[in-house]
């Protein structure tokens, strides 16, 4: 019998949560729709039947207090997971996350700590529009005392959710809705990934693409198109936002000497700016660094504009070609993001 199974990202999250709840009776999960028949992309499906309604339950639409309730329960030794169908709803939790969760360990000088996991879905497609698609992870990473991670692969999302649950600090766990159906090999055992390590997804020599969450998929597709021009890119999946794995980035930068950061967010005062700064602070020589990300507008709903709002594999490939060759004479072939075309909700 194999020790791994081919699981979707959503199933991998489920398995990580299921195994954590089985392993530790202090783990419990709640949020809107946790016990409904869809179980938030299957990630919470039937947990209430397995572990009882005390440990997996639906809630009022009270994000502010429920964040505080998660924090309070963690002070009593519990390890709560609070599920949000959309990152945008976390704006209603900001006081508890920024003023309470991130501060309690410090102001108590370590006498208290807040082991909570806040799951939040982000991402594009199917007219999510201005208030249902935002990433906003940079907000949280700005705050000392909060951990922020955004895994891309089924392997990392399972190891990541388990590591987040086991971590003794508040973790914002960012899931992209275009990834839930992506499949990959996932070990059957309960395992953790590091909450401060990036992953080199693809080795290459001509240029380094740094992606986060779904933009890693865009980068991989861009690398396929770039084979047409025999350009070989290295791809780094950042995974951890609050604890940047700058060592891995610098190692790659020294090798390829060209970097494009493809953020899954706006660029202004954002993650890509932070990465750029840290690279320039550490490298003794100057290399070209470019940033790509959302257009600096709210996300438009209509597909026609939405496609322009996000950096696509096609646009990334073109940018890479220009940086590597110093030429602008190539129009890359279009690649269709099947999951975006096929996605019809619900969230």
């Amino acid at each position: 019998m194999s020790n791994s199974s081919n699981l979707s990202y959503g199933k991998a999250i489920y398995e990580g949560i299921y195994q954590s709840m089985l392993n530790n009776p202090n783990v419990f999960i709640f949020g809107q729709g946790v016990d409904d028949y869809k179980g938030h992309y299957g990630t919470t499906l039937n947990l209430h039947k397995i572990f009882g309604k005390e440990r997996a339950f639906d809630t009022p639409i009270s994000e502010d207090s429920l964040t505080g309730i998660a924090i309070g329960s963690s002070l009593a030794g519990m390890r709560p997971i609070f599920v949000h169908q959309r990152m945008d709803f976390l704006m209603l939790c900001m006081n508890q996350l920024v003023n309470m969760a991130s501060k309690i360990c410090y102001i108590s000088n370590g006498h208290q700590n807040v082991p909570i996991v806040i799951r939040a879905s982000i991402g594009r497609s199917w007219g999510q529009g201005a208030q249902h698609s935002q990433s906003l992870y940079s907000f949280f990473a700005h705050i000392p005392g909060l951990k922020v991670i955004a895994p891309t692969t089924p392997f990392d999302v399972k190891g990541g959710i388990i590591a987040s649950i086991n971590d003794n600090n508040p973790v914002i766990f960012v899931e992209h809705r275009m990834l839930y159906e992506n499949k990959g090999l996932v070990p059957k055992e309960r395992y953790e990934i590091s909450l401060s390590s990036a992953r080199v997804t693809k080795k290459g020599s001509d240029l380094t693409l740094i992606g986060i969450s779904y933009t890693v998929v865009d980068c991989l597709r861009a690398s396929e198109i770039l084979k047409d021009k025999k350009i070989d890119v290295e791809i780094i999946d950042l995974i951890c936002i609050s604890s940047l794995d700058i060592k891995t980035i610098i190692k790659s930068a020294k090798k390829t000497k060209k970097i494009i950061i493809v953020d899954n967010d706006w660029l202004y005062c954002g993650l890509a700016s932070e990465i750029t700064t840290q690279i320039t602070e550490r490298l003794k020589f100057k290399i070209p660094i470019e940033r790509m990300g959302y257009k600096f507008s709210p996300c438009p709903t209509t597909r026609n504009l939405e496609d322009n709002f996000y950096p696509s594999a096609n646009v990334i490939a073109k940018k890479v070609y220009e940086m590597v060759t110093n030429k602008k004479d190539w129009i890359p072939r279009k690649i269709i993001n099947r999951e975006i075309l096929e996605f019809k909700g619900p969230f």
């Binding site: 419990f28 005390e54 440990r55 809630t59 009022p60 009270s62 502010d64 207090s65 429920l66 964040t67 505080g68 309730i69 998660a70 924090i71 309070g72 329960s73 963690s74 002070l75 009593a76 030794g77 519990m78 709560p80 006081n95 508890q96 003023n99 309470m100 309690i104 360990c105 410090y106 102001i107 108590s108 000088n109 370590g110 006498h111 208290q112 700590n113 807040v114 082991p115 000392p144 005392g145 951990k147 003794n168 600090n169």
Partner: protein, 311 residues
């Protein structure tokens, strides 16, 4: 319990210790040894004393930035309290907290918040954990009338009621949010009635130490037995400014309560040897301040410690 059996000695001790501590802070404040805002409890002592005397050691206490009275009444580490005010290494949190964030886990006193109402859902979450784990500890959540202006208060009591959690909300209604009177903040000041409509057992209690003690004791027993969330409103007066050591401008000019607190005089009248208690309190204060004065400040490398828990 008949009133004669009430432990007036202990009540007087706690009440007077809070009052004298707060007065001492006003005395030393000009030296700027406490380099931080203080939110004093003078005038509100009876609530902390009555509720703390009704509590067992198992109760979990959630207070707020006006927490000196609660902290002292519930028996928090007094020397560490003063060291914390002085920003010293052997304070409750090595000086990282100060007056607004007092805490002492030895008495289940959770570190407090300086954001109005923000600890209230934390208290509810703690109570939820008690329910999930089948523990019988009751959570006490002290807050002011100002906290009831916040949406999170109403979200929190809704959830406490929905899950029938073992929690007692104690509303110290001093009528003011800084200088804004209740009537400027609420269309109707029928606090108890509104809370009751959420399904909590709610009651307004007369402000005297014994009544508060007696009612709270009864309610705590009920909560332990049935896990039904309760709410009490106790009218009170904050005699000092919202923050700082000045007298409250909300008081009438010739208000005598600062010099002749009727409740304190009443408790004293029940204690034969009150002078001995007074002496004990003064000695405790002097010892604690001396301890704080002589203590060292945290080392510079402390600054980055405990940003994250590394337990």
């Amino acid at each position: 319990m008949p009133k004669e059996k009430f432990n007036f000695i202990e009540a007087y001790y706690r009440y007077k210790k809070i009052r004298r501590t707060e007065e001492k802070i006003t005395e030393v404040y000009h030296t700027d040894k406490i380099k931080s805002p203080v939110h004093l409890s003078i005038g509100q002592e009876s609530i902390a004393v009555g509720c703390s005397m009704a509590s067992s050691k198992k109760e979990i206490i959630f207070s707020n930035y006006r927490g000196h009275a609660h902290f002292i009444a519930h028996g928090g580490d007094y020397k560490a309290f003063w060291s914390e005010l002085y920003g010293k290494r052997n304070g409750l949190s090595s000086g990282k907290a100060g007056s607004m964030h007092l805490g002492d886990l030895n008495i289940n006193f959770m570190f407090t918040s300086a954001i109005v109402a923000s600890s209230i859902p934390n208290a509810v979450g703690y109570a939820l954990a008690q329910k999930i784990k089948n523990f019988s500890n009751v959570v006490l959540c002290y807050h002011g009338d100002g906290a009831m202006d916040q949406g999170v208060f109403w979200e929190s009591i809704n959830f406490a009621s929905l899950k029938q959690l073992p929690i007692l909300f104690i509303c110290e209604n001093n009528e003011y949010a800084i200088y804004s009177h209740l009537k400027k903040r609420m269309y109707k000041s029928n606090i108890v009635e509104r809370v009751r409509s959420f399904g909590l057992k709610a009651k307004k209690i007369k402000n005297d130490t014994f009544t508060i003690f007696e009612e709270t004791k009864k309610i705590l027993n009920k909560i332990r037995k049935n896990s039904i969330p309760h709410f009490i409103e106790i009218p009170t007066s904050r005699l000092k400014d919202h923050v700082g050591i000045e007298n409250s401008p909300n008081m009438k000019k010739n208000d005598s309560r600062l010099v002749e607190d009727k409740e304190l005089l009443f408790l004293r009248s029940k204690v034969k040897d009150f002078k001995k208690i007074d002496k004990k309190i003064e000695s405790e204060i002097d010892t604690a301040i001396d301890y704080a004065e002589k203590s060292k400040y945290p080392k510079q490398n402390e600054i980055l410690k405990n940003v994250f828990s590394d337990i």
